[in-house]
Amino acid sequence: MVNLEELKKEASQILKEGKVKYIIGFQRSSNGLLPVPAFIKDPEDADKLVWDPACVYNLTLFLRDEKRKKEKEKEPDERPVGIIVKGCDSRAINVLLQEEFIKREDVYVLGISCENTGVLDEKKLAKKLKGKKAKRVEFGAKDDFVITTEDGQVKIAAQEVLAERCLECKAHFPVIYDVLIGEKTKRNVENPFKSLEKTESLPPEERWKFWKEQIEKCIRCYACRSVCPMCYCDECVADTINFVVTPENFVYHFVRAIHLAGRCIDCGECERVCPLDIPVRFLNKKLEKEAKELFDYEAGFDPEKPSLVSSFKDEDPEDFIR
């Protein structure tokens, strides 16, 4: 079990010692189930930190803001930023290191293991609770979640409400950390690309119909891009403001998917934040699968390795080339 007190103690300690500028973590929201980002500067405020199955955000996206802020300052504070990450989030840090967007000394990583479970999917939970509103979720003792509603507490097996990506997780505990809280449990994931099977198995015309319907809904709010830690470009090349109507929406989504090939670590945030429930995650997941199958490449495990599209092997497939 992850010991929250251990996390709070560690956070408070490094703030007291001045080791970090501030810590990015999770705090209780005044309204709503999901904890919200906290930017903690005072050692006493470390008590605000929380850790529960609703900590779904990928906080590494705030490293981008930190970098921008630092660039504007005349005498920037060179101390690292403390950041609380899950396994998937830590892979994002590796990608940012690999691309030299940040340096290792810029972050102090407080890694938390998801152990045998992961984080929940709010929509799955809402369906399970059949209309009752969940006020709080905690980790249970036996790979289940303890949910507090207005009627009391109920236990649900984690597998039934886990986020889709947790069921295909490749990093159950952070792969890069300065401090690790929780145990390095090994989970067996049979098929890391299972969620793609449904769309992949459709005949091409059906697949097209599915994607057309979904992407037509897009209102170009760019939340999927804003929440992605890897989309850190100051000016996005796919950002042409007039192309609202299909098929132009495709250009934005496809270009983004290709630009994330070999960089997306499947934190699932893009899909969670979409106000119109467009399954954008599948586009990235498909390319993740191709990166593995065609080029044996997995993002976010080794910051020293060259990235997918800036490297090549002599054995790269070329059967499709005339």
Partner: protein, 140 residues
Amino acid sequence: MAEEFEPKIVAFLCKWCSSAGSDLAGVSRMEYPSNVIPITVMCSGSVSPLYIFSAFNKGADGVLVSGCHPGDCHYIKGNFYARRRIALVKKLLEYVGLEPERFQMSWVSAAEGVKYTQVIKDFVKELKPLGPQKKLRRTQ
């Protein structure tokens, strides 16, 4: 009399090999279908996915990316990167349901005028039965 459908192919040809190859085909007076709109790029590795999707968006029925053979790239490694990138674009387009025959890649060297004409002839032959590309085309 109904007009036969003539597919429009946008071809991104690398300047040092494929574009030169197409020039050789022209200078040697070889006959091949006139459905191609050639765009010379410095290297096949410089072809961004944005160009490809943009071409389909503006109404291309087929898109071809053509570069130097592996090992012969004027910039040493550009075509190797292209090989990876284009593979990913091809897989993505296939996944969303676009006919895979619409997007092709080829290695054509500056001396391969004949190969260039053959690539184009084959491409046009494959595109004709598919009809005009409506899926990614701009409708407004």
